[in-house]
Symmetry: C2
């Protein structure tokens, strides 16, 4: 199914992943492409039988921490014809480096222990040397780049400070983000100190991924839609901005993604990114107009549509491509991660359809 990872840690030469050969990278820079590039958030995951087979033998964190396994999983979606790979990892790994204990509890999701609650907890956070604490992720990047032999690029990624902070403060997933927002409101100094640390670690982590060979990065601010635009501006924007700005000199495209952001898209764009990722709760054309045509747009199929009959999938794919209107800079994706219940063949169907429709379009 994939080329066996080889141990050569040299990254392929830049030529093998230049925009001219990759529709994904070209679209990130809003260059015209023969086909609309397509990939899927969580495209390597439980919906794939080969993933489940491996998962039976290894724990989730184990699969991420053993570079050979993480590389193998990263490469799995190649068979579906996607236009880019994304590193198999979890946004919470930097929190482990900072000293949180991370476990995945079935039916509950990630648990972070002990949760961060005050200034003392921030002071206790461990210093992080990315190359040491997260070296296994960088090693995975090397292995994937070597194995994929330039056929498609590799996206590195990290969670954005707000989303990471919410997990650390709530101790896991949350519905109302009560503790997160209370810390923000009641003890802004501690909030800002924590966000500052998270921004530093995240920037160093993403820079290291690019140095290791990642050819694009995505910053996941998955839960930022829980905030009012005013709170986003006051408590979050400066930190995401610092990270995105801090990657500019590396020359790789930066995708800035969040869900529930329809009311704050101009602010996400202000925070930065060459491409803004949006969920399905807003029409793609309206979202693109809101962020401006001088950035690309990624999205925005409802992940549940992948469980629908083919005619519904086709209708929705067509609608999104019509809204993108052939404008260079659209990367087809879901509005959030693939659901575990998704039939694999429907994912392949969407890849083929997106490619075919753009070719039929005469581009």
């Amino acid at each position: 199914m994939h080329t066996r990872p080889i141990s050569n840690l040299q990254s392929p030469t830049p030529e093998t992943h230049s925009p001219t050969t990759s529709p994904f990278l070209a679209a990130c820079w809003r260059q015209p492409t023969d086909v609309t590039p397509v990939w899927f958030m969580r495209q390597a995951g439980r919906y794939m039988p080969e993933y489940r087979a491996l998962r039976e033998k290894y724990g989730l964190l184990e699969m991420m921490r053993i570079p050979e396994l993480a590389a193998q999983v990263t490469l799995m979606p190649l068979r579906l014809g996607v236009d880019t790979l994304i590193l198999f990892a979890d946004i919470l790994l930097p929190l482990v480096a900072l000293g949180f204990d991370l476990t995945f509890v079935p039916g509950k999701g990630p648990v972070l222990d002990p949760p961060l609650r005050n200034a003392d907890d921030v002071a206790r956070l461990r210093p992080v040397k990315v190359e040491e604490a997260l070296g296994y992720v960088l090693e995975t990047v090397h292995l994937v780049r070597a194995a994929v032999e330039g056929r498609v690029p590799l996206i590195g990624f990290a969670g954005a400070p707000f989303t990471l902070a919410s997990y650390a403060i709530e101790g896991g997933s949350s519905r109302h983000y009560l503790r997160t927002k209370r810390l923000m409101y009641e003890d802004p100094q501690t909030w800002h100190a924590f966000m500052d640390r998270l921004a530093d670690v995240t920037l160093a982590y993403l820079r290291a991924q690019v140095r290791a060979g990642a050819q694009a990065i995505q910053l996941f601010d998955s839960w930022v839609g829980a905030l009012s635009p005013a709170d986003y501006r006051a408590y979050v924007l400066p930190y995401s901005q610092r990270i995105l700005d801090g990657l500019a000199d590396l020359g790789v495209p930066r995708i800035h993604f969040g869900t529930g952001t329809a009311g704050m898209l101009p602010l996400l764009r202000e925070a930065g990114g060459d491409v803004i990722g949006v969920d399905w709760r807003i029409d793609l054309d309206r979202a693109w107009a809101l962020v401006g045509y001088d950035v690309g747009i990624q999205g925005n199929l409802d992940p549940v549509v992948l469980l629908a009959p083919r005619e519904v999938i086709a209708r929705e794919v067509r609608r999104i491509l019509r809204q993108a209107n052939g404008r260079p800079g659209h990367i087809f994706n879901l509005g959030h991660g693939i659901l575990p219940e998704t039939p694999v063949e429907n994912v392949a169907f969407v890849v083929e359809m997106v490619h075919q429709m753009t070719i039929d379009d005469g581009r």
Copy 2:
């Protein structure tokens, strides 16, 4: 704390709740008011000690089904100075009338049994005569109207068809609305048949509430933000529209509320309502511009702000009033229901502040 309900079922004369005496009703019609009216979704609830005291003696459904108790709870927030009451009931009561078994499971929320899954389940739904099946709600309206003696108006309400359908199909709350959307996509005929029934019952229920004395209504489409705008238009809008249109002849203002709707506000407005209720995920001024100034706007404080220090509360209230810009038609509210952890005194503080600030404004 409140006038004891009397058994006179005659509604007060219309004069006692005319817009000229109620800033809430006046604002619904976008008439200038001395103060910006303010109320809170779930203003009668667990955050109040007197509610918790009563709740220790009675079950949740019992409190809704015994009109004297429901009326007593409805009246509780009067002491906070709110500009309107809202009926104490649950949006799921019409589902009980349709034949679903409803229980509230601590820590899990409402459970509806058996969940609706196919055409047979729709065919099995019971015919609903609102006056019989939901007569206790109408009786509560009578009791509240008599007790409140025209001091403030009373809002009646119902869940909108999509939100009700999602509970009925999922069997309770949901994160991804997988079953709901799959029914929509896989069996649109059954979907539309169910939505049709829900729209009929909801319209009859709301008309009965108004006939019983409710002076405004709110249609809660709380979870509609889970949908793409395209799906909202195809699968939901016609039913909410039929309900809202079907109330027009009654002459009471109609508030149309949803959360996570920043990407589909023009569609909510198209579905109808004299006032559109929005959550905090979009700036109030931008939301109002999107729905148009020929409707009122209700919102939009983040409920978590009520747990924040006073200076943060004051800052956020000021921001929202500034965004409303003194334009007639703003009803101050939260973006969703009051959280149980909310200090009662903070709620009273917001009421006073909203009233005071608009007076200082010289209106």
